[in-house]
Symmetry: C2
Subunit: 85 residues, 2 copies
């Protein structure tokens, strides 16, 4: 497989992986088994990838990670809405 195609497929999969998790949380309104630390570390990490992409001027890195930031921020908001206090 061409390495650019491979990189794009890999990037789409890792960026999109949290969408099924977000859908599950929105449906079941339950986040008890999700790790808040995981979400915070992940959001920090993908935000830094966006910054890295901006510095290197690499649009695919910027776009895929900015998308991940959005999905994971949504998941974080759901976490605080749905956690049992």
């Amino acid at each position: 497989m061409n390495e650019n195609v491979l990189g794009i497929v890999a990037g789409v999969l890792t960026s999109a992986s949290m969408i099924p998790q977000l859908i599950k949380v929105l449906k079941e309104k339950n986040v008890k088994d999700l790790s808040l630390v995981m979400l915070l570390v992940l959001i920090t990490g993908v935000s830094l990838w966006v910054w890295y992409g901006i510095m290197k001027d690499e649009l695919p890195i910027i776009l895929s990670n900015a998308f991940s930031v959005l999905v994971n921020l949504s998941l974080l908001i759901c976490y605080f809405i749905y956690r049992k206090s």
Copy 2:
């Protein structure tokens, strides 16, 4: 910040983000709110990143994503052990 340092910090954070999730699952033995589809898509994605790293001969990409494969495979095994049938 130097862009290589930034890339390394970002890579370590995104690779390590699933460790707190794995620890939580091992402690609480509960995976009801985790999405199996998320795990499968993520493992496929990071595996393709390892392949990409091998093709581009970029050791940081290979190592950080191989580490992610290990953590997420452990989480997948836990998923099947702890899900209520």
